[in-house]
């Protein structure tokens, strides 16, 4: 029953958002809470029941449950037919269809679960802020879009959700819209996302042109049928385009720049959207398209490399940031890099597992930081915190657990998932993957260091805040601390779901996801059974190398935490950054985020000029306007000048030649010729007489001479 009405799950928060849109202004806070938080709670419970029903439905085969509610685009009569690449006709079909399989089940549970906790937290955090109903309306709208994205059965409906979460991200980052920095950050997020969206759409359309359908089930069936070769160029292109979309949404290089600025939004927004849910949409999409990616090893390599580079790059920036939320933002980018590294080396289940655990401990860390900021009366700079552990004990304890989780200390969630990724990266065939493992390993060290730094600067050491701030420090209300505690418990327990074989567990998480992911690309039919049998056998053995790597990772985490403890745990008012002491230029580069934003301003947006020249979009604008003013208008002006010159020439010709010569000429000629003729009619009588006499004499002479 719950499974059949799975389309209701996104509609509960949509209803909440609609209520806020129409009636929000007039409602009491309590009513807003009841409607919006209630909607997400109902969605969560519904989702739980639906997933339970699904497990009965699928009996472990992982067969997806698909339900099409309404045919949106395309129809049976074929008037939206188009030609595929191979010339056959295919029907364009995008429907409101919902797909529940192990992958979307996991996402559904943690999105609604963490979303529910964050909604409850927000009732406490936003209690004193204006625009209360607007905030919850946007949050519910976000949940609606995210759930649509997760449950969609085709790329087009997924894109509706994709765009929706981008929109809500914009609305929520720019929640304090009267602050220019906030609205700038919102613009940056949306525009950067948009660039990725172009990639997503192009990828989806390439797939439909090549394969003939948008639906995930159809695409998976076609891709795994063996009809397409590994390394197919069009599938590689489609995969790379889809990955570009994922880069935009999940903040990978080069489109990660919006996420740190997105911290302008309220902390629950950062927790929900930019830690637990929206940024994982890219990972979800790539995991969904795993059948395509597996057929495109080049694309997978690209994903892995960019993931690893992003991980270490963002971690390096996080080492020296002072704003508590910014450290967490870079940490998110870095951990997302881990997830893509996992997807790129083919360890899809490990990547999804890391998404799962990361959602809990990152949401915990963000909500905890929100609690800290709440206690510090709005101060976000860690330079002015310190010695808070006795004053806000619940926040301290939960955040400490979150820090242990992300650093990868055994027993906590992050350890199992991160370790699985590093192990899969190390064991993939090809020596280059060892290098990727090394990058992941170095990042783990840096992660432990900067998270330790965050905790020690905030909670340990001597108090560095002003006296009025010190007096105001208080623990957050229960609505905020209870979600923290719940998330802390999850941060511990969630990891045990994916306990690997090497440590005696059965890795239920990976088993649950097995039907979704194709382990290897489809080989020649004959080899398949033998290949699968061999593969299965390998899984059961535990390579001693795995233990070695595990010990190395734990060692890295401990070393990182130890270094952080040494540098920051006793920080007084004038503590110094060890990196700044060791190498001031390096510190400057890291503090300024490797000057990437400035670089983008020079190259892509054109907000800064290179000398006299402006590049990028604004530079193109300037160049166009120069071209228009100088060359096109110049041409127009020259045409005008030429016309005027011709006109002048024409008028000269007309005045002097035509009028002068042709018209006046004959007149003058006539007048000149008339002079003698006039003589015949002088008007003088005696002249006439003379003429007569002359004639007479002439005659006489003539006759005489005759």
């Amino acid at each position: 029953m719950f499974l059949n009405h799975i389309y209701l799950i996104p509609l509960f928060p949509a209803f909440g958002a609609a209520m806020m849109l129409f009636f929000g202004r007039r409602l009491q806070k309590a009513t807003v809470n009841a409607v919006c938080v209630g909607a997400v709670v109902v969605a969560f419970l519904f989702a739980c029941f639906a997933v339970v029903e699904y497990t009965h439905f699928a009996h472990g085969t992982g067969q997806p449950f698909e339900k099409i509610v309404y045919t949106w685009l395309g129809s049976g009569d074929g008037h939206l037919n188009f030609l595929k690449k191979d010339g056959t006709a295919a029907a364009f079909n995008a429907d409101f269809g919902f797909l529940l399989d192990p992958l979307s089940a996991i996402w559904l549970l943690f999105v609604t679960g963490v979303g529910m906790l964050i909604h409850i937290y927000s009732t406490g955090y936003m209690a004193h802020e204006g625009g209360y109903y607007r905030f919850f309306g946007y949050l519910n709208l976000f949940m609606f879009a995210m759930l649509t994205l997760i449950l969609a059965n085709n790329y087009i409906l997924m894109f509706v959700g994709w765009e929706g979460v981008g929109l809500c991200s914009y609305l929520l980052i720019g929640f304090y819209f009267h602050r220019k920095s906030a609205s700038d950050a919102a613009n940056k997020a949306f525009i950067t996302n948009r660039i990725g969206d172009a990639g997503f759409l192009l990828g989806a359309f390439t797939l439909v042109w090549y394969l003939g359908s948008f639906r995930f089930t159809d695409i998976n069936a076609l891709a795994r049928s063996g009809h397409y070769l590994v390394g197919d160029p069009i599938l590689t292109a489609a995969a790379l385009l889809l990955f570009l979309g994922a880069c935009g949404k999940s903040a990978q290089i080069p489109l990660y720049v919006w996420l740190p600025d997105a911290m302008e939004g309220p902390t629950p927004v950062s927790a929900l959207i930019h830690a637990a849910t929206m940024v994982t949409a890219g990972v979800y999409m790539v995991a969904r398209s795993n059948a395509i990616f597996v057929l495109a090893p080049t694309a997978m390599k690209t994903v892995a490399i960019i993931g690893a580079l992003t991980a270490i790059f963002a971690a390096s920036i996080g080492l020296v940031q002072n704003d508590i939320k910014r450290v967490l933002a870079y940490s998110t980018v870095s951990q997302l890099g881990y997830m893509f590294l996992a997807l790129g080396v083919g360890a899809f289940a490990a990547g999804v597992f890391h998404v799962f655990t990361h959602a809990f401990f990152k949401a915990l860390l963000f909500l905890g930081s929100g609690s800290v900021i709440h206690a510090m009366s709005g101060e976000q700079d860690m330079k002015f915190m310190g010695d808070l552990r006795s004053r806000i004990p619940i926040t301290y304890k939960t955040m400490f657990i979150g820090m242990l989780a992300i650093a990868g200390i055994p027993g906590f969630a992050g350890f199992f998932s991160k370790d699985e990724i590093l192990w899969q990266a190390y064991t993939k065939e090809g020596s280059a993957y060892h290098f990727l493992w090394l990058i992941g390993f170095a990042t783990a060290l840096m992660t432990a260091f900067y998270m330790g730094r965050l905790i020690f600067l905030t909670f340990f050491g001597k108090p560095r805040m002003s006296h009025e701030a010190e007096h105001h420090i208080h623990e957050s209300p229960k609505s905020m601390t209870i979600p923290l505690v719940i998330l802390a418990i999850c941060s511990v327990l969630a990891g045990w779901l994916g306990l690997p074989h090497s440590l005696g567990g059965s890795n239920r998480f990976e088993k649950f996801l097995e039907p979704v992911f194709a382990k290897e690309a489809p080989m020649m039919r004959a080899e398949e059974p033998a290949q699968l049998a061999a593969g299965k056998k390998e899984e059961e053995h535990t390579d001693p190398m795995e233990y070695g790597l595990m010990i190395l990772s734990v060692g890295a985490a401990v070393v990182g935490l130890g270094l952080a403890y040494r540098s920051y745990a006793r920080a007084g008012k004038d503590y110094s950054e060890p990196i700044a002491v060791a190498s001031p230029p390096l510190y400057r580069v890291l503090y300024n985020k490797w000057f990437v934003d400035e670089g983008y301003d020079y190259i892509f947006t054109g907000r800064r000029k290179l000398g006299d020249v402006r590049l990028g979009v604004m530079g193109a604008g300037e160049a166009s306007s120069w071209f228009d003013a100088k060359i096109i208008d110049g041409a127009v002006n020259d045409a005008g000048w030429i016309t005027r010159a011709i006109a002048t020439l024409s008028s000269w010709w007309d005045k002097w030649v035509i009028d002068g010569v042709c018209v006046n000429g004959p007149a003058i000629l006539a007048r000149m010729m008339s002079y003698p003729a006039r003589l015949f009619e002088w008007g003088l009588v005696q002249w006439y007489a003379l003429v007569m006499v002359t004639g007479l004499v002439g005659f006489a002479v003539y006759y005489v001479w005759k």
Binding site: R678, E681, W682, G683, L684, V685, Q686, A689, L690, V693
Partner: protein, 102 residues
């Protein structure tokens, strides 16, 4: 003494004729021009009479009578024109008849 032949008469007539022409062409006074025209006519008369004597018949003399009549009529008309002219222009200077001059 040379006997007076026809030639002498013709020469006299020619002389008179030329004088008359000169008078018509040269004089400013309209009356004098009319008188000169009479002189021309009379010279012609003399010429005709001389030839009449030469040929021994009266043809010349008859034609001379015609010319006399014509001269009389012409004089009358000419004087009429002269008077009309004088009434308009208050002068008898033929140089001042130049309304047709450009």
């Amino acid at each position: 003494m040379v006997p007076i032949a026809t030639l002498h008469y013709l020469v006299v007539a020619a002389a008179l004729f030329v004088l008359g022409v000169i008078g018509v062409l040269t004089r400013r006074n309209v009356v004098i021009i009319l008188m000169s025209i009479e002189l021309i006519l009379n010279a012609v008369n003399l010429n005709l009479v001389a030839f009449s004597r030469m040929w021994g018949n009266l043809h010349g003399q008859v034609f001379a009578i015609f010319i006399v009549v014509d001269a009389a009529a012409e004089a009358a008309v000419g004087l009429g024109i002269l008077i009309a002219f004088f009434r308009n222009k208050e002068t008898i200077n033929v140089d001042e008849i130049d309304l047709l001059k450009w």
